[in-house]
């Protein structure tokens, strides 16, 4: 069952940056905050060779993987063409300045 979990205050995630949520029941999940203050969450695992997407440069609503520069759409987790692949997206929301994640 999907459960909403309280993660952290928004201010703990830098603009154009990310935080990683880890736990025993799931792989690491990266939460991104874009330049226009929207939130996104995807598995912290690049569809190419598993690079940690959380460590990439965030631009627009995309992140560039730090290992071999694939670009990933943060909304869908899809790689930007011509690369092909997908990393699982998760629902996130902001409530009173606090970030919640659906796991």
């Amino acid at each position: 069952m999907i459960k909403w979990k309280r993660i952290c205050p928004l201010t703990d995630i830098p603009q154009r940056g990310s935080r990683v949520v880890s736990g025993p029941d799931h792989d690491d999940i990266a939460i991104f905050r874009s330049g226009d203050d929207q939130l996104f969450a995807v598995h912290d695992k690049c569809p190419h060779k598993g690079g940690p997407l959380s460590q990439g440069i965030v631009h627009g609503h995309q992140v560039t993987c730090p290992l071999h520069s694939w670009k990933i759409e943060l909304t869908s987790g899809n790689a930007v063409a011509p690369d092909v692949g997908c990393t699982q997206p998760f629902a996130v929301r902001l409530e009173d300045g606090v970030v919640w994640l659906a796991i």
Binding site: G35, T64, L67
Partner: protein, 816 residues
């Protein structure tokens, strides 16, 4: 508001490319209608030759299929020739009466083949070579007939002749001039080419004038009679005697034409609502007949249609490559020389190699190559960059001095390599894959090939090979990007040089200011431009512009090198490669405490701890800081190492105290950010045990002082450093090398190593600024010292700045 109406007449390569460029930047601005006289959607005309040769099919060369037009909401009328432009009513009318109104009209009607005005030119069996219909007519003829005559031994004629031979016909080529491809080749080159084409079975008649095409009994052409009286049997005659810009439609509409529709630098005709691009247009007196310049025009026209209005088309230098499999021909610029020109020639008829480079005032103005065209793209780039070659002219013809022109394995002549050859060693991409992708996806540029195949997208050492493969697939349609005008990335039209200039001259100190002033197309850039802008800002306005960590690659944010498994490597500085028992003990302790799996001595004379967990980074730094050790910046576009040899301190040959000199340099430059990484070395004598000859700055001690070398590189493509100057004292070593590096910091483009910077601007220029102009040298050196002033070790600094909570936020995960 209703959308504006845009009508394109001519559904060919230039017109549709303009639409593609337009849709990229202003997808919703126009309601678009396209008229094409041919019954096909837009296809890659230059690949008609491989179709004729049986290497590809018509289906393979379609660039935009019907669904592309539909997906982009474009109304497409194929098989409809426009016969009238009514400029007053602002509409166009087709042969069959179909009409379309326009607010903007784009003419891209291409060329018409020139048909010799000789008796019999209209007989069945006589074709031109321009479109799919012509190609199909030739293929059909080849299936039932024997004798073909091609009139004209230019690029098109030879490609036609080659295709027909491969389809089993006997082919005679008639040419009016004294040698073949006389507009692209000099006599010697043409002679060599002719020989190799004759070996394929082509028979040539030079200086031959066609008198008549003779009608056979069936009513079809049966022979070509020459002025000399000679008669050559022919069931198929291909007219490839040249093309004329197709401007008749424009002319009828009263637009000013003169060997093409005359356009200005924004590709507008004398009626500003009407644009013209491609072979039908005449820009500053030239109507181009190759794809590369047409694509440049398309980009400018699209920008103007989208009302960006920044781009201007200033004309192109073109290059040619014959697309006959197995034969390498390259030609660019002015190859015939003339007043004030010098010729460099290498000729080896024995192996069929001929290279000629034409120089004027130490700049390359033209080049012709046969047999070995590996250096073609490089020459072309030097022409376009207007590079001064005084320093390298003695080995220009021997090639091999450019990044990747031969690949790692010394291979060249890409056209001849088998499909299974691995071209890109980093990504494991073979030649066959590259060729297939270029053709199927209709790629024209190196960037596109990198994107779609990954070849040449990592270390870049195979770039030259990939360029050659591209050139052999698309011929003259390939233009190497010239480094001075190439945009930083897809977010902007501006090149690195322009961005640097704007930041300096308009005193821009923040990224939003730069993006706004220069009209960035994306809200916050991308992973290519942001690191570059961040560097330009902090290097131009030290202590004033704010460093933006989110615009730095992860390594520079984490002050460590990310590994394939997401862990990090940590390299503490060992000044000049020197260390102490205490430092070694601290490293050993840290390695045990944080369970570092691998400890390695690096090629840069220090010790690397590999496989450190991200969460341990702040702790390991704190331990090193306690031991008095600082970050080695093994991760940064910054000062890396200063290698030294033992020198006069111990060595029996040493003339100077190289360890001491090296430590002084490294301490001086600690914390220096630069366009790319910077490495130095100091050797105590010319035996050069510190390998100073392949460093960005190399210092070699001699009895009377030091020799300085700059712009060496030991990486992807080994480049020997060039002698810079000789100095007498340690202080001078610091001042001269500091000033050189500051010039690089101020004028280099992001990710350009010193060797590429010096190649671009010329060593003479660098010397004039640093060696010859003492006042400027001192000013540069002072600016460097100012920028480095108060630099704090990032390992120690991070803890102080972020505090414990900040460090946790940056380096630790949140437990769910």
């Amino acid at each position: 508001m209703d959308k504006m109406k845009l009508v394109l007449v001519g559904n060919g390569m230039a017109g549709v490319r303009t639409l593609e460029e337009l849709l990229k930047i202003a997808p919703d601005m126009y309601d678009i209608t396209v008229f094409g006289a041919e019954p096909h959607p837009n296809y890659n005309r230059i690949l008609l030759s491989p179709v004729l040769a049986g290497e590809m099919t018509v289906q393979d060369i379609i660039l935009n299929d019907h669904s592309w037009y539909a997906d982009n909401g474009i109304r497409l009328h194929t098989g409809k020739r426009i016969t009238q432009i009514d400029r007053r009513a602002r509409k166009v009318v087709a042969e069959d009466g179909t009409e379309a109104e326009y607010d903007r009209l784009l003419l891209a009607t291409g060329s018409t083949p020139f048909i010799l005005p000789v008796p019999g030119a209209d007989l069945p069996g006589v074709v031109a070579y321009r479109d799919i219909a012509d190609t199909q007519a030739m293929i059909e003829a080849s299936q039932s007939r024997m004798h073909a005559v091609v009139i004209g031994a230019g690029l098109l004629g030879l490609e036609a002749a080659n295709g027909l031979i491969l389809r089993g016909m006997q082919v005679h080529v008639i040419h009016l001039a004294e040698w073949i491809m006389e507009r692209q080749l000099d006599r010697t080159a043409a002679g060599l080419l002719q020989k190799s084409l004759e070996a394929k079975g082509m028979q040539f008649h030079m200086g031959a004038q066609t008198a008549e095409l003779v009608r056979g009994e069936s009513g079809r052409v049966c022979a070509v009679r020459l002025k000399s009286g000679e008669s050559i049997p022919a069931d198929l005659v291909v007219m490839a005697a040249g093309i004329r810009p197709n401007a008749s439609l424009a002319e009828q509409a009263g637009l000013y034409c003169n060997r093409g529709v005359v356009v200005n630098d924004t590709l507008q005709t004398y009626d500003p609502r009407i644009y013209a691009v491609g072979e039908c247009a005449n820009h500053r007196g030239t109507a181009y007949g190759l794809v590369a310049p047409l694509f440049e025009q398309a980009k400018v026209a699209a920008n103007h249609l989208a009302m960006y209005g920044i781009g201007r088309y200033l004309g192109s230098v073109t290059s040619t490559k014959l697309k006959v499999t197995g034969i390498d021909v390259f030609s660019a610029g002015n190859f015939s020389g003339g007043e004030g020109c010098e010729d460099l020639i290498l000729s080896d008829p024995g192996i069929g190699v001929y290279k000629r480079v034409v120089l004027k005032d130490d700049h390359i103005v033209g080049a012709v190559m046969i047999g070995d065209t590996a250096d073609g793209p490089r020459m072309f780039q030097m022409i376009r960059d207007n590079q001064n070659v005084a320093e390298i002219r003695d080995h220009l013809l021997f090639g091999n001095s450019n990044l990747g022109d031969v690949g790692h394995k010394g291979e060249n002549q890409a056209a001849k390599l088998p499909d299974s050859t691995e071209i890109c060693g980093c990504n494991g991409v073979c030649k066959g894959t590259i060729v297939k992708t270029i053709k199927e996806k209709g790629l024209f540029t190196l960037e596109e090939v990198r994107k779609h195949t990954k070849a040449s997208s990592s270390c870049g050492s195979c770039t030259g090979l990939v360029e050659q493969i591209l050139a052999s697939c698309v011929g003259g349609a390939y233009t190497p990007a010239d480094s001075t005008t190439k945009p930083v990335c897809a977010c902007t039209e501006h090149a690195h040089g322009e961005v640097r200039k704007a930041i300096r001259e308009q005193h821009l100190t923040s990224m939003p200011a730069v993006m706004q002033t220069l009209g960035w197309k994306t809200p916050d850039g991308c992973a290519t431009c942001r690191p570059a802008l961040n560097y330009y800002l902090i290097s131009t306005w030290p202590h004033e512009a704010q460093d933006d960590p989110q615009s730095r690659f992860v390594n520079e944010r984490a002050h460590a090198n990310i590994q394939k498994d997401g862990s990090y490597s940590v390299v503490p500085r060992m000044w000049g490669g020197l260390t102490t028992p205490a430092e070694l003990r601290a490293i050993a302790d840290a390695a045990e405490k944080y369970q570092v799996p691998t400890i390695k001595v690096t090629g840069g004379q220090r010790i690397d701890l590999l496989g450190v967990k991200k969460t341990d980074l702040p702790k390991i730094w704190a331990d090193f800081a306690d031991a008095g050790m600082v970050s080695g910046h093994a991760y940064g576009k910054s000062l890396r190492t200063v290698k030294t040899c033992v020198g006069a301190e111990h060595c029996r040959f040493g003339t100077q105290r190289s360890m001491e000199m090296g430590v002084k340099l490294e301490k001086m430059l600690f914390g220096m950010w630069s366009p790319h990484k910077v490495k130095l070395a100091v050797s105590g004598c010319p035996r050069n045990c510190a390998e100073a000859g392949i460093k960005d700055v190399g210092v070699i001690g001699v009895d009377s002082g030091y020799e300085l070398y700059v712009a060496g590189n030991g990486g992807i493509k080994t480049e020997v450093a060039e002698f810079f100057c000789k100095v007498g004292s340690d202080e001078e070593v610091m001042e001269y090398s500091g000033a050189f590096l500051q010039l690089y910091r101020e004028e280099g483009y992001y990710l350009e190593r010193t060797v590429h910077f010096v190649h671009r601007v010329g060593l003479d220029y660098v010397k004039s600024k640093v060696v010859e102009d003492g006042a400027n040298r001192k000013a540069l050196f002072e600016r460097l010292l100012f920028a480095l002033q108060d630099y704090k070790d990032p390992w120690a600094e991070r803890g102080v700045r972020d505090g414990e909570a900040g460090l946790r936020a940056a380096f630790e995960n949140i437990p769910a």
